[in-house]
């Protein structure tokens, strides 16, 4: 086994997802099969090979620090599940 049910439960927490027991079971089997397949990567010697996160030779793409038009507040908030006084509203995150 490449991945256990406990691993999957932990990854679910990190991913902010929750699963019932049978879903956990299915995901463990499927992720295990995928990781087993991906194990082919370990057959390859990659010592001294630079990783490629991105194919273009771009670095620190900047623009002039000038104010440009941006979304009006009401449009930016238009899709908010909940809003109040021009802000996104979320459940309380601090005690007291």
């Amino acid at each position: 086994m490449k991945i256990t049910r406990e691993d999957v439960a932990n990854v679910a927490l990190l991913s902010r997802l929750e699963f019932c027991e049978s879903e956990l079971e299915t995901f463990t089997g499927q992720l295990d099969a995928i990781l087993e397949y991906a194990d082919v990567l370990n057959k390859l010697n990659v010592d001294n090979v630079e990783p490629t996160a991105h194919v273009l030779p771009l670095k620190n793409v900047m623009r002039a620090d000038e104010a440009k038009p941006s979304l009006p507040r009401e449009l930016a908030l238009a899709n908010a599940p909940e809003q109040e006084d021009g802000y996104f509203k979320v459940p309380k995150i601090m005690e007291g």
Binding site: V8, S15, D39, L41, T52, A53, L71, N79, F88
Partner: protein
């Protein structure tokens, strides 16, 4: 012949010569949607009213004797992951079921500036994750060539719409084959341009280092016309390439004398349909007869590309999809605290494949596994890219099948994610390397279209157009309509 069966460039001629009006054309396509949409199900959202308004505006221009652009008044479809101001953009996800973007994607702005007509937003695999459109959070699109088969994916709605006559052209997006594979399955031309050639601004992100927008059309000339409109640098996308865009129609030249073709033996994988292999070999023979030279080449890291992709793409996705937390947009389910709200919202509205990739990506990035999976995959990506760099020292284009088989049956692979992933084996290395590739029709197996993939070096779209055009002009494969078009 009904208007919805023509190519965009043929229709442009008819508009300019005033043989037809743009409104007449749009109505023909809308009537076609009415006739076949219950079977094909290409569209998540139809934009009929604005389509007719756009068509009227084009007729007014023609009436005033103004010149119109090549795509003006020609009805098309947009994959539903491209933001359209004021029109729902769902990514085929329940979590964005009611999302109305406050702005347009750059490609949408560019198309509007050319007076194109948009019929609607096309179905797709949820967040572009899949190869059959069966992962749509809403419904299943069917292949117009055989309604019992998938249209491919993830741009399955875009391809099905064009094949069924519900649109004349479409835009898709391609992260691991999502333009080319559905184009192949539906008998169309589908191009993934060089990474950075088309702005991703307003394209809902799946795997940002791999995603690219491109056209799905009925022939190569239409592909060139759409490319002319959508390519180019965009200050709003820091990964877009800042070089000029050629006129791709200049590459519509029926001549490939001296073209050097490479055929990588690693792409002829086990499990490949022998009829697909036969069709590719026949295409190569034909290209050689037309004056090309061909040689076998080796791209030794091909077999590792799929595994690398299925670490890199989910890793990027797990980060990109963290934004669906029920806070600033999208759906929300209340919970006992904010973490509970995140979990309930995401669990209720994401589909199984999206959850699977978020989980896989989170795992590949998590402490203890980051180096073993994610960094290793990025190193393998370097080797895959080097395979392409080396190959293009010797050859001008690389030719492979687009997919190992023709379109498969609905439901055939839904319970086996790995089997589904294996359909991407020929297209994925192209995204890892960031190079451009096009799929064009090259034959049929059991009545279903086969796709030929042509790959070129970065910014080699002109070579692709020229090669694809020459092959197309010496064949009739692109002239066959999906049977649905004839029967209904």
């Amino acid at each position: 012949m009904e208007l919805f069966k023509y190519t965009a460039h043929q229709l442009h001629e008819k508009l300019v010569s005033k043989e037809i009006s743009a409104v007449e054309l749009t109505k023909s396509v809308l009537a076609r949607v009415d006739a076949v949409e219950k079977d094909v199900q290409s569209y998540i959202t139809q934009t009929r009213e604005s389509a007719l308004e756009q068509a009227e505006a084009v007729d007014a221009k023609i009436g005033q004797g103004q010149a119109i652009s090549t795509l003006a008044g020609i009805p098309g479809a947009l994959k539903d992951n491209m933001c359209t101001k004021g029109t729902k953009t769902t990514c085929a996800s329940k979590i964005l079921a009611n999302f109305i973007p406050p702005y347009n994607a750059t490609v949408v702005e560019k198309l509007m500036a050319e007076d194109t007509v948009v019929i609607g937003k096309a179905n797709m695999d949820e967040f572009a994750m899949g190869g059959s459109t069966e992962n749509s959070g809403f419904f299943q699109t069917r292949n117009p060539w055989d309604l019992a088969t998938v249209p491919g994916g993830s741009s399955g709605g875009s391809a099905a719409a064009v094949a069924a006559g519900e649109a004349i052209w479409a835009l898709g997006s391609d992260t691991g084959g999502s333009i080319r594979q559905p184009a192949a399955y539906c008998g169309l031309v589908g191009m993934k341009p060089t990474y950075g050639r088309v702005s991703r601004y307003g394209l809902v992100a799946y795997a940002s280092s791999l995603d690219q927008i491109g056209p799905i059309t009925r022939d190569v000339r239409d592909c060139a016309h759409v490319l002319n409109i959508i390519c180019g640098h965009d200050a709003k996308d820091s990964t877009s390439i800042n070089t000029g865009v050629p006129d791709y129609t200049k590459s519509l030249v029926n001549d490939i004398k001296g073209l050097k073709i490479g055929l990588p033996r690693e792409y002829f994988v086990s499990g490949m349909d022998p009829e697909v292999e036969r069709a590719i070999n026949k295409a190569i023979e034909q290209l050689v007869a037309l004056g090309a030279e061909y040689k076998e080449i080796s791209m030794p890291h091909t077999e590792y590309a799929l595994s690398a992709y299925y670490m890199i793409a989910p890793a990027e996705a797990s980060s990109n999809l963290a934004r669906y937390d029920g806070v600033s947009f999208g759906e929300r389910i209340e919970g006992s605290d904010i973490i509970d709200m995140y979990k309930k919202t995401r669990s209720a509205f994401f589909g199984a494949e999206v959850k699977r990739r978020i989980m896989l990506g989170t795992y590949a990035l998590s402490a203890g596994y980051h180096d073993a999976y994610y960094v290793k995959a990025l190193q393998v990506r370097t080797l895959v890219k080097q395979d392409f760099d080396k190959a293009f020292h010797d050859v001008d284009v690389i030719i492979t099948p687009t997919a190992p088989t023709t379109a498969f049956k609905l439901g055939e692979k839904t319970n086996d994610p790995l089997a589904m992933y294996l359909q991407d084996v020929c297209t994925i290395p192209v995204n890892l390397a960031g190079v451009p590739a096009v799929s064009i029709p090259c034959g049929f197996a059991g009545g279903m279209p086969i796709g030929l993939q042509i790959i070129a070096k970065p910014l080699g779209e002109e070579t692709l157009i020229r090669t694809a055009y020459t092959f197309e002009q010496n064949n009739d494969y692109h002239k066959g309509f999906a049977p649905l078009l004839e029967v209904k």
